[in-house]
């Protein structure tokens, strides 16, 4: 009987917490919409090429959702698992750098001592326009 009460409690909290899951809106059936997939692909440059990949994502989200089964009322959330560690402060001395040659070897193309990149962000094939995100 105790086990059944817990199980009911779990189900209730699972259902109740649905609203606070990740930004990616999971529909009632547990499916992720095409819009969300496109949005994720653009943000993370991950290619959800096949239906299989999307299904895997849905399973991963469902798996993570099980965390909501743990009651956390009145418990302060942690900032990170490192939060009781000491943040080491480094002295303001120059100890690195001067390795341009080594670093430039990693680059596919180099001009004089600059890394070469395309003129702007290259948009994914589905979108019509180029997406320049000039920073400064």
């Amino acid at each position: 009987m105790w086990a059944r009460a817990v199980w009911l409690g779990l189900r209730a909290s699972l259902g109740g917490r649905r609203g606070f899951t990740c930004k990616a809106d999971v529909q009632g059936s547990g499916r992720i919409t095409a819009d969300v997939i496109e949005h994720l692909e653009r943000l993370a440059l991950v290619d959800f090429g096949s239906r299989e990949a999307v299904a895997r994502l849905e399973k991963a989200i469902a798996f993570a959702d099980r965390l909501h089964a743990v009651p956390t009322d009145g418990v302060e959330p942690m900032e990170s698992v490192l939060e009781d560690r000491c943040l080491y402060l480094r002295s303001d001395n120059v100890v690195e750098g001067n390795c341009a040659e080594e670093l430039l070897q990693n680059s596919h193309r180099v001009v004089e001592e600059y890394f070469v990149a395309p003129p702007g962000n290259i948009s994914l094939p589905k979108l019509d326009e180029q997406e320049p995100f000039p920073h400064s």
Binding site: E83, L89, R90, E96, P118, F133, H135, S136
Partner: protein, 513 residues
Amino acid sequence: MAAPVLRSGCPGRCWVLAWVYGGSRHRRGSPAGSTSNWIRGQSSLAQQPLHTARKPRKGEHEWAAVVGLEIHAQISSNSKLFSGSQVCFAAPPNSLVSFFDASLPGTLPVLNRRCVEAAVMTGLALDCHINKKSLFDRKHYFYADLPAGYQITQQRLPIAVNGSLTYSLCVGKKRSQVTTRTVRVKQIQLEQDSGKSLHDDLRSQTLVDLNRAGVGLLELVLEPDMCCGEEAATAVRELQVILQALGTSQANMAEGQLRVDANISVHHPGEPLGVRTEVKNLNSFRFLAKAIDYEIQRQIKELENGGEILNETRSFDYKLGCTVPMRDKEGKQDYRFMPEPNLPPLLLYDATSLPAGADSQQVINIDQIRERLPELPSVTRERLVQQYGMLQEHSFTLLNEVGLLEFFQNVIKETRAEPKKVTSWVLNTFLGYLKQQNLAVRESPVTASALAELLDLLDSKVISSSAAKQVMDVKKGNPRAINKLIGLVRKATLSRADPAVIKAILEKKLSSC
């Protein structure tokens, strides 16, 4: 958030009268969401009925503009925020880049103590509350000059919040009255700078230099308490003077050490705030005020023509003197903020909370930093006015020119002349000459000692003031002036002195200064 009210002290030109005839009403764009922390009122007015004929009373359709600023100041430190590579302006490309800055796998961020101190000092100088615990986050976006694909910043809990910046404006018809304004400082946070992109349109490529990637920045967010370009530029100027006095940033706009983004919107007084636009990369004072005022006018014209303002990012085109949209695609950026997993919370202490036996290199004591703060510009100005009896505006001029205050103080030290005389000579004759020759104080051929001696001579009435000015001319390299000077000395000695001897004495005196 300050309610938009008619402020009696606000200079007249900040209000723009706009006549609206025939009862047309402006469509309000719905405020699009944004990632910035701009607080904006809801546009909840009921739809105004479209009547005709009600002629507006004078002043009814005035526009008020609201300007907020996001300022990035490069921290003056030897090494970068999270790595030990050097911070330096002009260096061979990619020579000041460590493995971490290049985002090679396996590297980790290590926080620079000096950068934290700089942030605390700046927060204290701006009367902020220093958060004893602050956190680091990742802000994700893709661009070639951001090798990691994210920037480490402090979005959730920055190091300092809720401060204020006070600045002074010259108002009135002759701009002779000095009035003070205050703008609230929402927060100060530590973050990384990105590298530099050089666009080569000819070859359709971008060249990337990561020397600047990872340099420590202080982002200062100023609330929308300003109402026009002049207020914004003056506030930024005062901030620059403060940062330079603290030594936390050299804040040189020309070298990119101080960058300003403005958030601008317009509304009718008494009504909720309008949709805002962001104008990025204002990198000089002149263009800062110009761009903001242009954008305010653009928004007003747009709304008066029945258009709407898009919540977009624009940049200022220096050549055309106008703002242009920067991103052609609407839709906010999703930065996917997440806690930086490699950095624990940053904990700061004060005298009461300092843990016993702690390594002094590993703890930061806010009270100790407060005690060691250099004199702030506002205090210096007040002191100058009290001590030397100068006008407030003089104290501003003295602090606005790099090196001028020190020069002034050196002259005061070495001369017997009255402070008011010194003030007048330094601010008028000396500074005027520098401006004419386009020289900085440190480039001046006239030294403080020379000026002090000259003023002594003037004071003991050995020479007249016109003669003194002639000497200045000589020092500036005008040889004919020395002849004039000889003439004057001859006259003073009632023609008894031998001109050749006078010339020799003068030349000796002048060359020894």
